[in-house]
């Protein structure tokens, strides 16, 4: 069996979703941890140090390429799967099954993902793009990202969009976190129970922490 056969089968496609999904989860841990330094109450000193380390150091900059590759793969494969799966029932039901047996968010991964994507486009245009272009996309001079956040999060619609992004992420992860492990083949009830608990905790805590960042700037708490 060729690699191409393995990863284009229905199970293989799901494995790509799970691998890239877990990779994005790992990224989120680093991202939320570093950004939490805005609450150090030091006018952004610690935050800017962290941002400088990530932006001027060759290792995170190389990892960044992997991150972009991972998220693009996740999005493209995710949307393709969504449309392929939908096309498998040309004639739909008159009476929908709805929530009899499955959770709404487990059936809405494509929509939730698209909302996250919407947020991501704005988010990258807000911070990543201005900062990197200032650096000449190499290791040049960075902008003060803490000041930038203060400026960006003055706008209500931006704060609202960020909250929508975090809200969608929470539901996406609530299904995605445990689903990824099932895709990897974890069938042992003892482990599934553990994964479920960690997944619920992660899906609430991380998006909530992210959501509090624009809110903190908007209300001038930091």
């Amino acid at each position: 069996m060729k690699w191409s056969e393995l990863f284009t089968s229905s199970v293989g496609k799901k494995v790509i979703m799970a691998l890239t999904g877990i990779f994005l989860i790992l990224f989120l841990i680093v991202h939320v941890g570093l950004n939490a330094t805005i609450w150090a109450m030091d006018g952004g000193e610690m935050f800017n140090k962290g941002a400088h380390f990530m932006g001027s150091n060759i290792v995170p900059r190389i990892l960044e390429i992997g991150l972009f590759a991972g998220i693009i793969l996740h999005i493209v494969q995710g949307l393709m799967l969504e449309f392929q799966n939908r096309s498998k029932r040309k004639q739909g039901y008159a009476v929908a099954m709805g929530n009899k047996g499955s959770k709404w968010y487990s059936r809405s991964m494509g929509v939730l993902g698209t909302l996250i994507l919407l947020f991501l486009v704005v988010h990258i245009a807000d911070f990543w793009l201005p900062n990197r272009s200032n650096q000449g996309f190499l290791l040049g001079e960075e902008i003060n990202l803490y000041d930038k956040m203060q400026e960006v999060f003055k706008q209500e619609w931006v704060v609202a969009l960020y909250l929508l992004g975090c809200f969608s992420l929470a539901w996406h992860l609530l299904h995605g976190f445990q689903s990824a492990f099932r895709t990897f083949g974890v069938s042992n009830k003892k482990y599934l129970a553990l994964i479920n608990c960690v997944g619920i905790g992660f899906s609430i805590i991380v998006p909530l922490a992210f959501a509090m960042m624009p809110v903190s700037f908007y209300f001038g708490w930091v």
Binding site: M1, E5, L6, S9, S10, V11, G12, K13, K14, V15, L81, Q84, N85, R86, S87, K88, R89, K90, Q91, G92, Y93, A94, V95, A96, M97, G98, K100, G101, S102, K103, S106, R107, M109, H175, Q178, S179, F181, R182, T183, F184, G185, V186, S187, K189, L192
Partner: protein
Amino acid sequence: MEQYSMNLTLKVWRQKNANEQGRFDTYQVKDISSEMSFLEMIDVLNEEMIREGKDPIAFDHDCREGICGMCSMYIDGRPHGPWQNNTVCQLHMRAYKDGDTIVIEPWRANAFPVIKDLMVDRSSFDRIIQAGGYISVNTGSPVDANAIPVNKDMADASFAAAACIGCGACVSACKNSSAMLFLSAKVTHLALLPQGDPERRSRALKMVAQMDKEGFGACTNTGACEAVCPKGISIENIARLNREYLAAGLVAE
């Protein structure tokens, strides 16, 4: 429970054949006993239609005792109707009350084309089994029961998976029209027994390849299949199938 009788309105999907457009027709049925089965209620309607020279409703059934997997009706938004762990043939009219309206549709999936009315072609399932859902040895006459040691837990898990009757409710319930619960039941049933072990790798690969070819969708672990399965096949089997498939796919040349 007291026996009672009821009058009902049925909205039934009628379709001449796979190529024709179908539609819902509405029927009134009278004096239905609460002790009848759902299929007997349809029989009453069909006999009346035959007497009137009309085309009766085509539907699949065989054993009428919940073991063959032939009956297949999507009733009011749920495969096999409102009861848990149950087939349509074992659904009884005491689930309904006088004046109820019931909407009946066939399983819907590209891989299960409608033959007529509520009857769908499920031979895609047969082809998945033919692709690898067997043990390729001549078994001959039975050997001593204890000649091959089998771990009791494994035997129980295998037996639970072997309870799958191949009805297709899992596909019908799944938003992706995925056949993974069915497939995982078949793969688990054989993989956990020593007799099935030698072919477990190639079996998972071949059966998944056939499933994809038949036009079923990919699983996204929503759990709708497990909720409607008349035999209580657990979704954990899908994770086991994923594991079998990955282990096989990563080492297969």
